[in-house]
Amino acid sequence: MTALFSAHQLAKRFGDRLVLQDVSFDVEEGQVHGIMGPNGAGKTTCFNVLTGRYQPDGGTVMLRGNDITGGSPRAIARHGIARSFQLMNLFDDFTALENVAVATRSLRAHGFGFWRDAMSAGDAYERADAILLRVGLQDKASLRAGSLSYGDRRALEIAVALAGEPVLLFLDEPTAGLGAEGIARVADLVTELKRHLTMVIIEHDMRFLFRLADRISVVHWGQVIARGTPAELRENVWVQRSNLRQLTC
């Protein structure tokens, strides 16, 4: 069986600095693939190259057998890949509900309807309601995104990514800046999402990742230095020697 998604020998340089080299990984349908590594290792850059923000300097990206290497963010989104951002990236003046609704496929499909009311555009708002319920923001639907608490904004960040009904979801440090309670909330959400969705998650919280990921790639200096199931990685000499906690500062 071929993987749902595969990145092959990705390379990215900024100026003369090689930030990604020879990064390859496959994601099977239904799996959660974790990516960990120290700050500045190139994890976010990897997402940026995979989701069209930057052009790769080498390598190929395949989704369901289609070559999507170097596509624009819009093209990649339309192929069914959605992502969240490490630094929050919302529509701050919109309500939580509008943030999600505007990211739905329904609204996109009616995007050039000049005369109809957005709220009756397909099922955009019904879907948005359902997604807010899923991430636990149903009571905050009519609040401005900019006025939400940090934890709620993180949840909304994921909700906006979910709105496009992706086949593959990339989450960039979904627990960044959250306390234990917030982390537990995201973990519950990811566990629930895992039932229907394939995901790639960058995460520095080890317990989070080792509990939820099926496979993990460890990235350091722009290279994958170790990979395996959580159980295999615990045994990995390199990972042990470099002291995981320190590695993932």
């Binding site: 990236n89 609204l107 005369w115």
Partner: protein, 329 residues
């Protein structure tokens, strides 16, 4: 669940107040010491500013050369009438179409930009059009412009309405403004409008959720310049001429000031308020002092510094006192 602000025009008291004031203006304008032509000019600027705000307020795109499209509409109306004998409807339509074609040309060059680069390019294009209007004598009449543009009667099939008097042209413009208001209002609550507002807030994210950001910016420009062209045509009728000054950087700046003073960034109605305020201030201050623009400019700076949400913003914060969660339209 209340999802977002009520979007029915006719349930708002402001709509009715505005309609009554505008509908009755010719009846009382003389008794407050003003004159019918002023009301007509305000109405035309209202249309121009409202169309402009689709770009600045809704899409967050700073076009600082928009006067060019007002001018192109005025010239196109004049030329269609003088050289091709076009009647009212065809000339109006042609003016809007010509301005939006010019708009499409400009938009094709600038829609991948934002912020200061976008603004600078719009200024540059505005200057190019202004330059053409002065130098292309055989078509535009150079510095003199096109003179003797008539105000053709409006033919509605069953009856004809003469537009020769300022009051008649005022009501005709009013009717068109109402149509423009309805169209732009619907647009702002349509999927297109929502996505445009999303692009304004976060262009990057809009692209990452799959929207064709370039195309939305492009279309916003084209629609906005079509409205500018229509306003320009009405201006040509009002002035019975079209001349380079209409597309000068001055007018481009005025429309920005109108929209900001009125509160176009926080309210759909801001541009209408701002246009009225601006033209009235020009006339009233202008009667006292030659340097009205200086005083106006200072007032404008004070506004931007202390109350950037403009007049509409003041009104909103007054209405929602003690209700900080009140969302704005």
């Amino acid at each position: 669940m209340k999802k977002h602000a009520d979007n029915h025009l006719l349930t708002r008291p402001g709509t009715w107040i505005g309609l009554v004031v505008l509908a009755t203006a010719p009846l009382w304008i003389k008794s407050v010491g003003l004159y019918p032509y002023l009301a007509l000019e305000i109405m035309i600027w209202m249309m121009f500013a409202l169309g402009y705000n689709l770009l600045l307020g809704q899409a967050g795109l700073p076009s600082f050369g928009h006067g060019a499209f007002l001018g192109i509409g005025a010239y196109a109306f004049g030329l269609l009438q003088l050289k091709f004998g076009a009647g009212l409807w065809l000339a109006l339509f042609g003016a809007a179409a010509t301005a939006s074609l010019a708009g499409a040309l400009v938009a094709a060059f600038i829609s991948h930009r934002r912020g200061i680069y976008y603004a600078l390019l719009t200024i540059a294009f505005g200057q190019v059009f202004w330059f053409i209007s002065i130098k292309w004598h055989s078509v535009t009449g150079g510095e003199d412009g096109l003179l003797n543009i008539a105000r053709p009667a409006a033919n509605f099939g069953l009856f004809e309405l003469s537009l020769k008097s300022n009051n008649a042209l005022y009501y005709f413009t009013f009717a068109l403004l109402v149509l423009v208001v309805i169209f732009l209002w619907r647009l702002s609550y349509s999927p297109f409008g929502r996505i445009l507002q999303a692009v304004k807030q976060n262009e990057t994210r809009a692209a990452f959720v799959g929207h064709n950001v370039w195309l939305y910016k492009f279309l916003a420009f084209v629609i906005s310049t079509a409205v500018a062209g229509l306003a320009g045509a009405l201006f040509a009728m009002a002035q019975q001429s079209a001349y380079p000054n209409v597309m000068s950087l001055h007018n481009s700046g005025f429309v920005v000031m109108m929209v900001l003073i009125g509160g176009g960034l926080v309210s759909f109605w801001g541009p209408l308020i701002g246009a009225a305020f601006f033209i009235l201030a020009r006339d009233l201050l202008g009667a006292y002092t030659e340097t009205w623009l200086l005083w106006y400019g200072l007032a404008f700076m004070a506004m931007v510094i202390f109350k950037p949400e403009g007049i509409a913003g003041m009104w909103q914060s007054w209405r929602t006192r003690g209700n900080p969660s009140g969302t704005t339209a």
